[in-house]
């Protein structure tokens, strides 16, 4: 266990270094832009008077050398009036997001619950269906069912999210009117914002349950159905493949013969001996996919008009909002890295070969 611990500590120590490298990479990416291009974020329209752009560049220090800007972002700035240091990543302040109209942390606080809720609800069908069908497919290897599922998953994998999302929206909302886009109906968002409703997590469906409001829960879930289907469909296709190949791998292992030679029924052979082994890589992949959902939500959130992290990042990236991109990417990387770490630890926990090395 001590090697595990040292592994974790090593990863934790490396984490800030990686983050700094990541931010430097983004910063150098963005330093390809001239101050005049960068200032366009502050100028939504043609400047009305002469010198406006130059004034703004000076005001936001965009003409400073890039390392100076980077350092300012890292260490913060000194307020000439109060003498206090404001902002600075090193002081835990990710800066002000022009796109999100709040500090980056505020924006994360505001936007993350929607994405997290989406991810949460996506995980259940994605993992459930994906793994189940993957197992079914592998057990029936090369039989008709396997072929059908395989083709189905390849087809699923070949459909662009935005085409799938558009079709789903067309059918279930525009045509049938079952599931609306957005996060909540107006009446429900009024309730949610009222003082009677305690917002524990800001994830509406969960808060609704915690508050005992089934009607709100129902409304929240109604809004989640379509994006969840869109997100999950693409991922279960992938998970199916991973599970299938992992399961096939396991089924080809020698210890399956041992189990059969012991007189175990085929059912038990698969359940007791094959699944625990086959699921180890699947758990990893599944967890990484969950983390990777942040990636997948960009388009889904755009299509379904969900104010989450994904749509926010797309917005700020397109409008070249340096601080927002930096802050959110940094946060994403943090999640990714911590997530990876957790997956690694998880891997160690579920696989005794690693845990007890």
């Amino acid at each position: 266990m001590s090697s595990m611990l040292s592994f974790i500590i090593r990863r934790l120590l490396i984490l800030p270094l990686l983050l700094i490298a990541v931010t430097i990479l983004i910063f150098s990416m963005l330093s390809m832009l001239t101050p005049y291009e960068r200032v366009s974020l502050y100028v939504k329209d043609i400047p009305k008077r002469q010198g406006a752009m130059e004034g703004l560049i000076k005001k936001y220090g965009l003409d400073d050398p890039v390392p100076v800007q980077y350092w300012r972002w890292m260490a913060g700035t000194k307020n000439p009036d109060t003498g206090e240091i404001e902002g600075g990543v090193l002081r835990g302040n990710l800066g002000w997001s022009k796109t999100g109209k709040g500090t980056v942390w505020e924006v994360i606080g505001r936007r993350l619950p929607a994405t997290a809720e989406l991810a949460l609800w996506t995980a259940i069908p994605m993992i459930g269906i994906g793994i189940y069908l993957g197992v079914v497919s592998a057990v029936n290897h090369n039989k008709l069912l396997d072929q059908i599922l395989r083709v189905f998953s390849i087809v699923g994998w070949s459909i662009p999210v935005f085409v799938f999302g558009l079709i789903v929206l067309l059918f279930f909302y525009a045509k049938l009117g079952w599931f609306p886009p957005g996060r909540l109906s107006d009446w429900a968002s009024q309730v949610v914002q009222s003082s009677q409703f305690i917002r524990y997590t800001n994830m509406n469906s969960i808060d609704a349950l915690l508050n005992g409001r089934l009607d709100i829960f129902r409304d929240a879930v109604r809004h989640l159905v379509l994006p969840v289907i869109t997100l999950a469909y693409l991922d279960w296709a992938y998970l199916l493949r991973v599970t299938r190949s992992s399961m096939l791998d396991t089924l080809n292992q020698d210890y399956m013969t041992t189990a059969r030679a012991k007189g175990l029924s085929e059912n038990k052979v698969i359940r007791r001996h094959a699944l625990p082994n086959a699921l180890i890589p699947v758990v990893t992949v599944g967890a990484l996919m969950l983390i990777g959902l942040l990636n997948g939500v960009v388009i889904t959130e755009t299509i379904f008009n969900i104010p989450g992290m994904g749509s926010f990042l797309a917005e700020s990236a397109i409008s070249l909002d340096v601080i927002s991109v930096l802050g959110i990417t940094m946060f994403n990387c943090l999640i990714l890295l911590v997530g990876n770490l957790i997956v690694d630890i998880l891997y160690g926990v579920i696989d005794p070969r690693i845990r007890l090395r």
Binding site: L33, T34, Y36, S40, V43, K44, D45, I46, P47, K48, R49, Q50, G51, M53, G55, L56, W96, G100, K101, V107, R110, I124, G128, I129, I131, Y132, F172, Y173, A174, K175, L176, G177, F179, P180, P181, S185, D186, W187, Q190, V191, Q193, S194, Q196, N211, R213, L214, D215, R218, D219, V221, R222, L224, V225, V228, R271, L279, T302, N305, S319, L320
Partner: protein, 689 residues
């Protein structure tokens, strides 16, 4: 059993999703104020009716009787501070929260009714305006309106003067056109410049006493007399559009001085004003807070999601604003303004009854025709019945004072290379830098633009060809005259042949070395996503390429920063850019387009003789007092601008607002910014029978 568990869980989720799909939310869900108890929710959540598959269009459900939901698509406010706001999303929202001294009389943009002022008078020279301030008006947060609040508001806005804000309008009014700077720091520097100095000092070098002096001087321009109950403004030049300024945030949007100071904003002290000068949007206390006197209070603004306003239960107005106009507390209690960028989503929400009005760019307006129960003009009196099974009251062809020209760059910048003009020479692979200095080229371009196609296809018929810089209905517009430049390829060809770009005195038609035989190549750029700009460029390209196969125009999508920067550097040969008025006066049209320091005029960069000609006449128009004196000046500007083909005067846009037919009381006033929600006070929501 692990796999079964997964399946069970996922089935459960699926089942719950399907179940919820069938449960329509109750039509009359308790408002938050109605102390919704958890026990009541069970029954409330019962489905009221099963959903109809593919519901007919007429069966749009009536939802939320007290709430009006707007789905905009043009972005959300940058701030809710009236002194900072210089874009329509913010100013329109503020119009419902804050009030000025006057207000537009219903649909009129040049007639005003008293608001926070009871009456006013102006001196004969038009330089001094005095307003009597209404008594007994309470701010949302409880303060009482006094004259010093009005003066404070204007002084604060003046001194806040953020870069690229609207303050140049008041700088010009109080200190003359030369002082119409981009921001307060530039203003202060110019103000403190010793007489005769060529370069103003840097703001950073100004001494504290100089800074105090700026503030004190401003205070002499805007003077409140609490005892007399008046506020007086002293201008440098006549400001015929004064009442338009006091009706909007520019000199309106009255704040409570005491409340502002309590909340940490400027307290009116001339020693500290620089602390509050040129702030970032988020650094003023009014960024996400509001305390006005208007019919609506700001409930909350969650950036990226929604702005919610609630009715001001203590609204001061007891008399109808005009005959049949609204009075008392607002009829609609709650306003939700959401920004949705996707047109498709917006339309879906309208069809589902989740939206009461959606932002509809011109190219999509035809889409809504099948749903129009009534089609109307500028107000309900003009409504005509349309589709019987429709559900919209569809206000269309509303003339916005918004003109979009294709602006030539008469003298292009070629320093450091200019990718837009190819070789930069008259060799068929580019155009020379002074291409558009030749009036025949400008005229040829103006004749090669298919105005009708633009209006018909790009604007879906929602517009008219522009006559010149001054829009329809405005002083200076040449009534009963068709625009001078028409789409006519023959004229276009003839003008091209008349040009003489190599300056050898021979017209291009007879010159082997000139434009007609050499041909040219140029690029017209638009910022990605801007559909009208793109369409205009494409139509121009089609027209020009049709007269001579040697002419090539490439239409390019550019990221906004590139476009902005190229424009600043004066590299773009043609820039398609529209203007929406700040205040309703022809000066606000000729200034930006034609004045050599105007927002667009700077880039048009006319040759010196033209610059002088236009600058002189524009200043004379602004200085003249009275409609009679001014009208002929503007009419001649309008005529000159066409004759000189300064720009391609492309089109004047029209608006279209699809309201659910249960929304009543809408009229069109273009001065509201986004007129569909500029004055929600006048609207009501009436359940369909």
């Amino acid at each position: 059993m692990r796999n079964k568990l997964f399946v069970l869980m996922s089935l459960l989720v699926m089942a719950s999703m399907l179940l919820t799909a069938c449960g329509q939310q109750p039509a009359t869900q308790a408002a938050p104020t109605a102390a919704a108890s958890t026990a009541a929710s069970e029954s409330a959540a019962e489905p009221t009716k099963a959903p109809e598959a593919a519901a007919p269009v007429s069966a749009v459900e009536f939802k939320n009787p007290d709430t009006i939901t707007y789905i905009t698509g043009a972005g959300e406010p940058e701030t809710l501070d009236p002194a900072w706001t210089y874009e329509t999303a913010g100013s329109t929202t503020e119009l419902n929260i804050y009030e000025g001294l006057t207000f537009f009389k219903r649909e009129k943009t040049d007639e005003f009714i008293p608001a926070l002022a009871t009456d006013w008078k102006t001196s004969d020279d038009g330089l001094t305006w005095t307003f009597n301030i209404r008594k007994g008006v309470k701010f949302h947060e409880g303060g009482t309106l006094e004259p010093h609040d009005v003066a404070y508001t204007a002084q604060r806005a003046f001194l806040q003067g953020r870069i690229d804000g609207w303050q140049w309008i008041v700088y010009e009014a109080f200190y003359g056109p030369d002082m119409a700077m981009a921001g307060i720091k530039d203003f202060a520097a110019a103000f403190s410049a010793p007489a005769g100095a060529k370069e103003p000092p840097k703001f950073e070098t100004l001494k504290p006493e100089q800074l105090v002096k700026v503030c004190e001087d401003v205070k002499t321009k805007i003077v409140a007399d609490d005892d007399a109950g008046t506020v007086t403004y002293h201008f440098k030049q006549p400001v015929p559009w004064m009442l338009a300024l006091t009706s909007q945030q520019f000199l309106g949007g009255i704040l409570d001085k005491e409340w502002m100071a309590e909340n940490g904003d400027w307290d009116g002290d001339c020693k500290t004003w620089t602390k509050y000068a040129d702030p970032s949007a988020e650094n003023t206390i009014l960024f996400k807070k509001a305390n006005g006197t208007g019919p609506y209070k700001l409930d909350h603004w969650t950036p990226g999601e929604e702005i919610v306003l609630t009715a001001n239960e203590n609204y001061w107005r007891t008399e109808p604003m005009w005959e049949g106009g609204p009075s008392g507390v607002a009829s609609i209690k709650r306003v939700v303004i959401k920004n949705v960028d996707e047109w498709g989503t917006r339309l879906s929400m309208l069809q589902a009854g989740d939206a009461d009005e959606i932002y509809t760019p011109p190219q999509y307006r035809k889409e809504l025709e099948p749903f129009a129960k009534q089609t109307c003009g500028t107000d309900e009196s003009s409504c005509k019945d349309d589709k019987a099974d429709g559900f919209l009251t569809y206000f269309r062809k509303l003339p916005m004072p918004a003109i979009t020209p294709g602006q030539f760059n008469w003298q292009m910048n070629v320093e450091g290379g200019n990718p837009y003009i190819g070789s930069g020479k008259l060799d068929g692979n580019g155009i020379p830098a002074n291409f558009f200095s030749d009036i025949h080229i400008r005229k040829a371009f103006s004749a090669c633009f298919d105005y009708d196609a633009m209006v018909k296809d790009a604007l879906a018929g929602e517009g008219v060809q522009a006559q010149g810089p001054i829009p329809q209905g405005m002083m200076g517009y040449l009534k009963d005259q068709a625009p001078l430049n028409k789409f006519d390829t023959a004229t276009c060809e003839a003008e091209f042949k008349k040009a003489d770009l190599d300056g050898d005195g021979k017209a291009a038609g007879e010159d082997d070395d000139d434009i007609w035989s050499k041909g040219f190549y140029m690029q017209i750029a638009y910022n990605t996503g801007n559909d009208t700009r793109r369409m205009a460029a494409e139509i121009l390209k089609a027209g020009i390429e049709s007269v001579n196969p040697k002419f090539t125009v490439a239409v390019l999508a550019m990221p906004w920063p590139v476009l902005l920067e190229s424009r600043r550097q004066g590299k773009l040969p043609i820039y398609v850019g529209g203007w929406v008025e700040d205040y309703h006066d022809p000066h606000n049209w000729v200034n930006p387009f034609l004045y050599s320091q105007g927002a667009y005029g700077r880039i048009v960069n006319m040759t010196a003789d033209y610059k002088k000609k236009y600058d002189d006449i524009i200043i004379s128009g602004a200085k003249a007092n009275g409609v009679e004196a001014r009208t002929p000046i503007y009419e001649s500007i309008q005529k000159m601008a066409q004759e000189d083909a300064v720009d391609i005067w492309m089109y004047q846009q029209m608006e279209g607002f699809p309201f659910q037919s249960w929304i009543k009381g809408f009229y069109f006033n273009p001065a509201y910014g986004n007129p569909e929600y500029g004055w929600i006070y006048s609207l009501s929501k009436v359940a369909p029978k």
